[in-house]
């Protein structure tokens, strides 16, 4: 082992755990090389001093409230809806195809709901070009869903989806 190799190895042996054969090789070099031996001693002393400082710890009571403060901050993060939707849709079973379905659905419905959009009777023909086979396999009820959305959201005199709660006397 050369002095150069020994100094590099010292960085390993002095500051961390080392494989026994490297440790032995360094020890053998130090035995015959006073210069590296002195260097090793100085490094060891320095590292020991540095490691003598305790791990910094926060004041008591800091961790118990940490998660709540973090969640509060995260809840104020912008554009969380899309991020969350994308994350939900990237589950291994469904994958990006499902995300595409949702994007297309949103696009289709919003297109049909624009002022001056054609009446609901043409829904099937309008949606059809957007539906691929993989989307049909993934969500067999896709066309029905689109129709349902159409009738629920698109027509002015549609039945409300939920009964409004009667006022408490």
């Amino acid at each position: 082992m050369t002095c150069r190799e020994a100094r590099e190895a010292l960085l390993e042996t002095v500051t961390g755990r080392t494989a026994p054969d490297l440790r032995r090789a360094v020890a053998a070099h130090l035995e015959v090389c006073p210069a590296c031996r002195a260097e090793a001693a100085r490094l060891e002393e320095t590292v020991a001093l540095l490691r003598a400082t305790p791990d910094p710890a926060p004041p008591e009571g800091f961790w118990p409230g940490f998660m709540a403060r973090l969640e509060e901050r995260i809840s104020r993060e912008p554009v969380s809806v899309w991020a969350r939707l994308r994350r939900r849709m990237s589950a291994p079973v469904l994958g990006p195809a499902a995300a595409t379905v949702i994007v297309v659905l949103v696009f289709v419905v919003s297109t049909l709901l624009r002022p001056g959009a054609p009446p609901a009777s043409t829904t099937q023909s309008q949606v059809a070009p957007f539906l691929t086979d993989s989307m049909r396999t993934l969500m067999p009820s896709l066309e029905e869903t689109v129709q349902l959305w159409q009738s629920g959201l698109g027509t002015v005199d549609a039945e409300p989806l939920f009964e409004t709660q009667p006022a408490v006397p």
Binding site: A52, P56, L70, A91
Partner: protein, 185 residues
């Protein structure tokens, strides 16, 4: 990737928010310790720690698992500390008073005074290192990370990390030796 981490990341991507909570609880103390060795005081360390996990929450959906989650997390931590330090350059590093206060009570007044003197000298010496050197010293000496991982965290080669560590340790030794000889005079 660490199997537990991989499972937590996958669960988070499925929309299980509790997986994020588990990740935070697993790593928050280490993140705080690294940050705290790199910024001036508890408040700054707490700010950095919170910011780290906000960034993690934001970026985790795109985390592809090619590196260890731990490496990625520490990289975010170190980068935030370096940014933080740059913005607060007028401010000194670690507040010495705090370091001394954090010291656990030693037996006997002489031992206590000596231990405090050592800690103060060490804190002062580490404080004088450039920020990136301080990051490497922190990751190696206090987190026991391999040089290869430190290289990934700091975005440089392993050779650079080793050369920097060597220079940092030599500088620290010089500073501490100076301190000691002054004290003994």
């Amino acid at each position: 990737m660490d199997q537990e981490d991989a499972a937590l990341v996958a669960a988070f991507k499925r929309g299980e928010e509790s997986a994020f909570t588990a990740l935070v609880i697993k790593y928050r103390e280490t993140v705080y310790r690294i940050a705290r060795r790199m910024v001036a005081n508890h408040e700054d360390g707490a700010d950095v720690t919170q910011e780290v996990f906000i960034r993690v929450h934001r970026a985790l959906p795109r985390f592809d698992g090619r590196s260890q989650l731990r490496t990625w997390l520490y990289r975010i931590t170190v980068n935030l500390c370096l940014d933080f330090q740059e913005r607060r350059n007028r401010h000194s590093w670690v507040e010495l008073e705090e370091v001394v206060q954090e010291a656990p009570a030693e037996t006997g007044p002489v031992a206590r005074v000596e231990a405090q003197a050592v800690r103060q000298a060490v804190a002062q010496a580490v404080e004088s290192l450039p920020a990136r050197q301080r990051a490497m010293v922190t990751l190696r000496l206090y987190q026991d990370l391999p040089y290869g991982e430190i290289a990934k965290i700091c975005g440089c080669s392993e050779g650079t990390v080793k050369a920097t560590m060597f220079a940092a340790l030599r500088k620290l030794r010089g500073l501490l030796a100076e301190e000691w000889s002054e004290e003994r005079r």
